[in-house]
Symmetry: C2
Subunit: 204 residues, 2 copies
């Protein structure tokens, strides 16, 4: 199958890239510059598309997202990923926007499917990672064009720990992925994304 992947350069989507290649699919990656503080993640995304030798497009979305700590000057909350405070990091409707643009590009490039790396641990914080959202978007993808487009979410019921284990199995260079929400040279270690990543790796 020919698949367009949403690739941020973080652990989840990079593992998805490796997973789909390992499954024998032809993939192309799509990333977004939406004004995120952690724009550094795009370097990681570019790195991995070079490593895996797959096409990579970066779409700019100037001014579309503004109401989240991830794009404002506001403090990025510290603490556990599933804490309610972490909901400040929700970017309004981000996944629908990114999936819809990926859908457009998939149709233009005659891909059969779009894939993204939503997983079970995301559900408490991000409304657009919930199973019912994924289900309805999957249906929308079958109707948005005269041809049917698939939406693949293979990690939908996996924990981040499961994804990390899969990354290990696939030999993903996890150290080169970027999850941290801050824009520093090194991961801060205390934001929600860092906490979740650390917990997923503990004891493995």
């Amino acid at each position: 199958m020919k698949i367009t992947i949403l690739l941020s350069g973080g652990l989840d989507s990079t593992t998805l890239l490796a997973y789909l290649i390992d499954s024998g699919h032809e993939v192309a990656c799509l990333s977004f510059d939406y004004g995120q503080t952690h724009i550094r993640e795009l370097d990681a995304a570019t790195h991995f598309t070079n490593v895996y030798k797959v096409p990579h497009s970066i779409v700019c979305l100037p001014g579309v997202f503004a109401g989240s700590a991830l794009t404002r000057d506001a403090e990025i909350p510290e603490g556990h990923y599933t804490d309610t405070s972490m909901r400040a990091t929700v970017i309004p409707n981000r996944n629908m926007v990114m999936l819809s643009i990926a859908g457009s590009m998939a149709i233009q490039h005659r891909s059969d499917a779009v894939a993204y790396a939503a997983h079970a641990d995301d559900r408490g914080v991000y409304p657009d990672c919930r199973p019912q959202f994924i289900s309805v978007m999957r249906e929308a993808f079958t109707l948005c064009d005269w041809n049917i487009l698939k939406l693949l979410v293979p990690f939908e019921n996996w924990s981040k720990r499961d994804i990390y284990k899969e990354a290990m199995r696939l030999g993903v260079d996890v150290a080169a992925t970027w999850s941290c929400y801050t824009g520093g040279d090194k991961p801060c270690g205390v934001c929600g994304a860092c906490s979740a990543r650390t917990e997923a790796m503990e004891g493995i």
Copy 2:
């Protein structure tokens, strides 16, 4: 209700703007510069947001849409709007992309709903104007955020002729709207959008 409207500056969406204001709603408009040949439509959109004194945002989507006659150098097909040849003017997944960005902005601006002017005559050409697409997007809007967002499509079962009659009733300055797919100084009179517009107005 506070409503974010997709406004192209054409007959349908301009009438939707007048219709929702007439119904007593507070509205804000959103338009897109996506590289359309008929970029001139944005002048019409701006004109009407000034006339009706409502907020107006224009979002740029550089490079997102490329596979349609409306954004390429390819010839825009002439002829009747519902002809199969007109499907060359389908911009892949355009409505999902525009609705999702409108949804994001609606959440950021605390709007209750997003509205767009899909109508019954569009169904044969544009897959993303079909009732089943509208229905599933309406459901996606209830799930994309922790708060429920509404999707309003009041002209869903109207013909373009019905919309024109409503425009007359509401005193919309129809001559100032722009429907033509070409970028000339005057409407070409032969593209699908011009044909549909002329037919809607005939004999009224």
